[in-house]
């Protein structure tokens, strides 16, 4: 897939800006605060309907504006598609494909595909389980657009069930028990779908991440990636949803009195994690700064490979990554950038970039993007 044109209106610091991207590597340069990352964020938003930086869409709309628009022209499988989304605070997202409104914003998922690598990704290795769950969920959504609504359904069931547990205030009368059993069943069914899809994803992702890491690090270090379930630990790798639902169901029954006492759902995909280990040691606590960066980048490059092998290759977006890397890793990342069908990179100054990145350079200022050098 290739992004031919991006236009943003009232998005972040840009009142209006448009860029025509060539194939291969493009570089966005400009001082801090010029809005380089905001442009990558806009592309990422089209791909995932979320920002890689903030949870709330309101932050994406330029201060004082009523709504923001992201518009893109993409070329995929020989066809040119026009996509646009309008973000309106409080009333959601409106999307159009080739000028025709789509019934639900989620129908846009899958049209634009992007892999975003950003400084925040260090959190995939060092941060809380929530960041790794979000990584898995975002990737699962790009692989399988239906996953997005499964995840929303699960969150809704979880909120209903937690509210019921809280309202029981430590004791459960017989009448409420019958209701809880219904929410148990809904949670088991919805949870099994999420769990199953994440297990399949991790199985497909693991060899690709290992390979990417070993290339980046230039060593045959052992990389281990395991899905850690709050129900079954790292075992129970059969992704059959019926079996997973049964395991979750049994756990809910076993935990009933504890859950009623604490007023919260203690197990399920919302408490799961992705365990990352280097040379048999947990990466979160034992990896060096450079190793953590390489592992985070390997997770992104592995995801990129996976999406590319299963469908249209995503646009590779690299936000300010070169400054953080040593010489050797910088060269390896440059190789990955060159190998992709299309890569867009940001940097404060062009000198940060490895020389072999023979790229189209764009100068970014708020509301203006100018091509200053062709490849």
């Amino acid at each position: 897939m290739r992004l031919e044109r991006l236009e943003v209106v009232e998005f972040r610091n840009h009142d209006g800006a448009a860029v025509e991207f060539p194939a291969g590597v493009s570089v966005l340069v400009g001082p801090n605060g010029a809005g380089k990352t905001n442009l990558l964020e806009a592309i990422g938003y089209l791909a995932t309907l979320g920002s890689h930086r903030v949870g709330q869409d309101a932050a994406l709309i330029r201060a004082g504006a009523a709504s923001a628009v992201i518009r893109a022209a993409v070329q995929r499988a020989g066809r040119r598609l026009l996509v646009d989304v309008e973000l309106r605070p409080g009333s959601g997202v409106r999307g159009r494909v080739n000028g025709a409104p789509v019934p639900r914003a989620r129908d846009l998922l899958g049209v634009v595909r992007a892999t975003v690598f950003a400084p925040e990704d260090l959190g995939l290795v060092r941060g809380d389980p929530e960041e790794r769950r979000r990584f898995l969920d975002t990737l699962a959504t790009q692989r399988l657009p239906r996953y997005h609504s499964s995840r929303q359904d699960y969150d809704r069931v979880l909120r209903q069930r937690n509210t019921l547990l809280r309202s029981a205030a430590g004791r459960l009368p017989a009448s409420a028990l019958a209701t809880l059993e219904v929410w148990d069943e809904k949670l088991a069914m919805a949870g099994a779908e999420i769990w199953s899809e994440r297990l399949r994803l991790v199985a497909a992702l693991t060899p690709r991440v290992e390979l990417a890491y070993q290339r980046l690090a230039g060593r045959d270090d052992l990389v281990e990636i395991a899905y850690v379930s709050s129900v079954a630990g790292t075992v129970g790798l059969d992704p059959d949803p019926a079996k997973l639902a049964q395991a979750l169901r049994e756990r809910l029954v076993a935990d009933r009195s504890r859950e009623v006492e604490r007023g919260i759902t203690l197990s399920g995909p919302h408490r799961d994690d992705l365990a990352l280990a280097l040379r048999d040691l947990p990466a979160r606590t034992h990896a060096s700064h450079g190793e953590a960066w390489s592992l985070a980048l390997a997770l992104r490059l592995g995801s990129h490979r996976l999406l590319a092998e299963e469908g249209e290759e995503p646009v590779l977006l690299m936000d300010d990554v070169f400054a953080e890397l040593d010489r050797q890793r910088r060269d390896r990342v440059a190789e990955a950038a060159l190998a992709a069908e299309q890569t867009i990179v940001t940097a404060a100054v062009p000198e940060e970039l490895p020389g072999e990145l023979n790229a189209a350079v764009f100068h970014v200022e708020p509301g203006s993007v100018q091509l200053s050098a062709g490849p």
């Binding site: 019934p103 639900r104 609504s149 209903q160 009448s175 209701t179 219904v182 809904k186």
Partner: protein, 199 residues
Amino acid sequence: MYEGPVQDLIDELGRLPGIGPKSAQRLAFHILKVETVDAERLARAITEVKARVHFCRVCWNVAEGDLCRICKDTRRDPSLVCVVEEPRDLVAIERTQEFRGRYHVLGGAISPIEGIGPDDLRIRELLSRLEPDAIREVILATNPNIEGEATAMYLARLLNPLGVRVTRIASGLPVGGDLEYADEVTLGRAFAGRREMPV
């Protein structure tokens, strides 16, 4: 802020579901502009609906008297009961002219977030109808969303041991639509609920 009565009207209209402050203001100024008789007709309709319309004591549909017109209609099969969340769902099913049984309006769906449990719905009233009406089949027609599905499951578990046939309306593809335009969730459900092709 506007002068007293105008602001009062805007505030009252703004309390209606789906009406924001801007719409409330537009409606209020529309009412100010129309003929007095038209405004009075609206006011009367609101007063009358509160004074004359009640809930049917059998099925909890809206009714002008003690019983709604469906429960009064002796041609309808009382042993077949379709359970819906709200009277407007009943109206939607009636428009199909497909169903010749009677209804039961729950008055909502189970939703702990909104503080609605089974006791807040007219479930006890449904149970008390089973024997006197000799109900054979209960058709669950709650909405196909999280709360509607949970309510349907709750009712199915409650009714099954009582020897009543419990069915759920099918969910799937809209008639006259194209497969390629169906969303994945609907299409997935239609697949899961596939049936033998009659020949």
